[in-house]
Amino acid sequence: MEGFGSDFSVGGSSAGKVDTGAIMEQVKVQIAVANAQELLQRMTDKCFRKCIGKPGGSLDNSEQKCIAMCMDRYMDAWNTVSRAYNSRLQRERAKM
């Protein structure tokens, strides 16, 4: 996850010519930020459900540990699911 810069100037506007590379760079950064936000939000939702049974006065030690573990497993699972989906797409494409 690189560059959370927020100063998205329009690519190459100064020269009055479009800089395709600069535009694509900005698009990619914006997509990466959106992906990170989505992941964070969904991971928080799932791990809160798994780890916080009855919300107490503070996040206790075991809850903290569970959250850390849950995050790591969520990202592992994400990669597994991504690979599984990708190979299914490849198999479907081979059928056509």
């Binding site: 009055g16 010519k17 479009v18 395709t20 535009i23 694509m24 698009v27 990619k28 997509i31 959106a34 992906n35 989505e38 992941l39 969904r42 799932k46 791990c47 798994k50 780890c51 569970c66 573990m69 849950c70 790591d72 497993r73 969520y74 592992d76 699972a77 994400w78 597994t80 699911v81 991504s82 599984a84 989906y85 990708n86 299914r88």
Partner: protein, 94 residues
């Protein structure tokens, strides 16, 4: 994260038609990647609940194969329901 404007108007920006086409093509690639990612997020919503009981020290092989099967069976279900629904619609049409 769904659609970028698929008919990006670059008139007046000084872009040549070739540049516009090139940009269009690269945006389409990014859009496909974004759709893939969005779909993985959706699978995760279903398959995490189905396959993960208590998050442990690592994903064991049983959990891993559960996740893989979950993705494949979800896609099978989608195809199956789509086909049957199409049949129902066709029959009902006359």
């Amino acid at each position: 994260m769904s659609d970028f404007d698929s008919n990006l108007d670059l008139a007046g920006t000084g872009a040549s038609p070739a540049e516009a086409a090139e940009l269009q093509r690269m945006l389409a690639v990014e859009q496909q990647k974004a759709q893939f990612t969005a779909q993985v997020h959706n699978f995760m919503d279903v398959c995490w609940d189905k396959c993960i009981d208590r998050p442990g020290n690592k994903l064991d092989s049983r959990t891993e194969s559960c996740l893989v099967s979950c993705v494949d069976r979800f896609i099978d279900t989608t195809l199956s329901i789509t086909n049957r629904f199409a049949q129902i619609v066709q029959k009902g049409a006359h």
